[in-house]
């Protein structure tokens, strides 16, 4: 089929090429620059979250030495660490960072549908981060009510940051939701409307599917947090009683009366559980692509992978109350949510099987992105299995609020997505920067992170079984906790400090390689999806030069029998498909085809 330049589509989008440094790097409407801005702000905020975690780990591991950490600061650090990591790092990085970078490139588009709104989104996100960080500098400091912000505790005088800290946190979340909605509308409409010619929904790489469905979840789930935040702000600032019950503070009754704290919990977790999948689904998508490219095989069960993403997205809205088993709910209510929670394990397990089957008999290239991707399969299985424990009401009740829960959610939505973040950054770094990173340093970074996080979280499961409660500033001396529990805490802190420090390897590597790395081939991994076939590396503003690409196949044509190379780019027409000369073709001689 002849190549038809899409002149009519091209004219649809006016490209505003920037001419100044500020236009190029600050107020830029190019989705790739916005992605890097989003990613940088998110990673910076994440570093603050990481440092906070190291500080409170010092208190847990070395309570005598870390006397500069008082109980108030401990609670503030724990709270801010949680909220920063879940919302301001992972959500922003996956949707704002990877979503922005990859959606237009993988869809064969020049940019997002609404570039101006896209730019506005990143600036509003920055405002939300500034408001959040401002809470460190106001009287009373940031809120220390735990990342779940449960009233009435968060709003009472005994909790640090109960005056300005919690207000700034809620306002910051509101502003963040505005940013996410602006970005989210862009991602959804771009995927629906700006796919290039021939690119059907089922030809999209799984990265786009993961980000697309996660964005829809974000658009539907964040309103619950917004509603909760608005009502809580009313309770704090205007004296209403949406959530605040009749309560005595410091011996004196407050003006509130009759509010329902459990209502807040429902609203919070109606956001909070889909939030887990807002983080997980993009990670699922990205890791699928990394595994497929470096195993030189098509992703196993592509359709099922798409269906699983959709099914998980749908189910994620009807499992929220499994975070509230101890709130005193009706047993049948708990039964319902335990059932839905266990059902969600089916599509999730299906994805895990498919990742493993993608590796099966693949021509695996064990390079740094693949290390992280395979590491993810380990940590995700681990965190997923402990989720099955906690999904059951009877097992959850004794384990609730222990370190077992902390270990579970850190494995499943902390370590696992972060490993994918690293896999994805290393995988797409050559396209983003035009340079190669240092492979050895990246692998060292992997081993430090992978083994180090296991050293942190594996013992926490044991602490949880012992009954060590989470969120406690100090354990004190209790009969049921042996000295070994304290020793384990010390070991965990040492591992955490080691993992924290080893992230320097990552930053040194990617910053050093920006200037000094060897020039990257436009498609160093031999990948088939569109983003690796731009005319320039890194892609210029507008991505595709004169005319948009046309797509003739799905994104996973790897090791196709009879093909000249072990991948066929999505934009290669059938007629131009490079094949080996049939007379010289001997499948037994060709290793990559021997098992086909």
């Amino acid at each position: 089929m002849a190549y038809v330049p899409l002149a009519d589509r091209d004219s649809e989008m006016e490209m505003h090429h920037p001419h100044t440094w500020i236009g190029r790097w600050v107020f830029c409407q190019d989705h790739k620059v916005i992605a890097i801005q989003y990613g940088s702000i998110a990673v910076f905020t994440g570093l603050v979250g990481l440092i906070l975690s190291l500080l409170f780990r010092m208190q847990l591991g070395f309570p005598e030495t870390a006397d500069y950490i008082d109980p108030s600061f401990y609670y503030q650090a724990v709270t801010m660490h949680g909220m920063i990591m879940v919302v301001y790092l992972l959500t922003a990085l996956f949707l704002g960072g990877f979503g922005n970078y990859l959606i237009p490139l993988m869809c064969g588009a020049r940019d997002m549908v609404f570039p101006f709104m896209n730019m506005l989104s990143v600036w509003v996100f920055l405002v939300s981060v500034i408001i959040l960080m401002a809470s460190f500098f106001v009287s009373g400091g940031p809120t220390g009510g735990g990342w779940t912000l449960y009233p009435p505790q968060t709003n009472l005088a005994g909790t640090p940051g109960h005056d300005m800290g919690i207000v700034l946190m809620l306002v910051s979340l509101g502003v963040f939701i505005v940013a996410t909605t602006m970005g989210g509308l862009n991602y959804v409409v771009t995927v629906l409307q700006y796919r290039c010619r021939g690119l059907t929904m089922m030809r999209l790489p799984l990265s786009v599917w993961g980000i697309f469905i996660a964005t829809i979840l974000a658009l539907f789930a964040f309103p619950a947090l917004l509603v909760a935040a608005i009502m809580m702000l009313f309770d704090i600032l205007l004296g209403t009683s949406f959530f605040m019950p009749a309560i005595i503070e410091s011996g004196a009754p407050l003006d509130h009366n009759g509010g329902s704290p459990v209502l807040f919990q429902h609203l919070f977790w109606f956001f909070g559980h889909p939030e887990v999948y807002i983080v997980a689904l993009p990670a699922f998508g990205l890791v699928s692509d990394v595994l497929s490219v470096h195993a030189r095989k098509n992703i196993f069960g592509y359709r099922m992978m798409v269906w699983a993403i959709i099914a998980i997205g749908g189910l994620s809205f009807i499992v929220w109350a499994h975070h509230m088993y101890v709130s005193g709910m009706h047993p049948y209510f708990g039964f319902f949510f335990a059932t839905t929670t266990l059902i969600i394990a089916v599509p999730t397990a299906l994805k895990v099987y498919n990742w493993v089957l993608t590796l099966w008999e693949g021509d695996i290239r064990l390079n740094a992105p693949m290390y992280f991707a395979i590491g993810f399969i380990f940590t995700f299985i681990h965190g997923g299995l402990t989720g099955l424990f906690l999904g059951n009401v009877v097992i959850d009740l004794p384990l609730s609020d222990t370190y077992f829960v902390v270990a579970h959610f850190h494995m499943v939505m902390g370590v696992s997505p972060v490993l994918v973040v690293f896999a994805a950054i290393y995988h797409w770094y050559p396209k983003m920067s035009g340079r190669m990173f240092h492979e050895g340093m990246a692998k060292l970074h992997f081993w430090c992170t992978f083994l180090g996080t296991y050293a942190i979280y594996l013992p926490m499961h044991y602490l949880g079984f012992l009954g060590v409660p989470r969120r406690y500033y100090a354990l004190g001396t209790t009969d049921f906790l042996p000295q070994s529990a304290q020793d384990l805490n010390t070991a965990i802190t040492i591992a955490a400090l080691f993992v924290g420090a080893s992230q320097l390897l990552f930053f040194i590597n990617i910053i050093w390689s920006l200037r000094n790395g060897p020039k990257a081939d436009p498609n160093p991994w031999g990948a088939a999806s569109l983003e690796w076939h731009t005319p320039d590396t890194p892609p210029k503003h507008g991505n595709w030069g004169e005319s948009l690409p046309t797509v003739y196949r799905w994104a996973y044509d790897y090791s196709v029998p009879g093909a000249h190379e072990d991948f066929i780019p999505q934009n290669t027409p059938e007629s131009e498909e490079p094949t080996v000369d049939e007379q010289h073709f001997d499948p037994d001689q060709d290793e990559s085809l021997a098992d086909v």
Binding site: M1, V4, L6, D8, R9, V113, F114, T181, L185, N186, V188, V189, L192, Q193, R195, C196, R197, G198, L199, T200, M201, M202, R203, L219, F220, P223, A224, L226, V227, I230, M231, F234, L238, G239, T240, S241, F242, D255, N257, G258, G259, S260, L263, H266, L267, F270, N298, Y302, R303, V306, W307, I310, T550, V551, Y552, R553, W554, Y556, P573, E574
Partner: protein, 204 residues
Amino acid sequence: MSLFKTITAKPWETKGVIGGLEAEGAIDAPNEKVALSVFLVVASVVFSLFTVGYFLRMELPDWQPLSEPAQLWFNTGLLVISSVLFQWARNIVNTDDHKNVKIAFITGGFFAIFFIAGQLLTWSNLQEAGYFMTSNPANAFYYLMTGLHAVHLLGGLWVWSKSSIRLLSGRDSNDVKLSIELCTLYWHFLLVIWLVLFALLSNT
């Protein structure tokens, strides 16, 4: 192509270009309209969650129903007129009747402003009658939900004011047509939301 057909396609089997110049499955509507439709779903989620919160909070013993002021019927009338005028502008936007398009679109917006003024008046009357936000959760929900609806309307009025200026200056006729269409859609949406809220507040 139906959703079912889309997600049951076997992409590894079919090669070659599928679909026309636009990618298969793209919605045949301006991108702005698609985005607005998605946004309307998001806004509906916000209002539904407030409604769910309303019902759950209503169950608790301290709830004292608020008798809504009769003036709300008058305000509702203003919003209906506003929506009807927008619809009129949208119906004749493709004709040569430029004068009436301007009249309908601009007066439509003013009726929405009157509606907001009317809502503020009910607020002030309720305050004078002693129905404060803090005195009862029913009052708090009343102020919160009507306020949130008014904020959405203010957002619409911002777009309306920009479009009105362009309409009066006679520039960008195609853009203005789209603006009028989208404003009309948004106004109808907010009218429906208001009718649901009004029914909810009046009957509980």
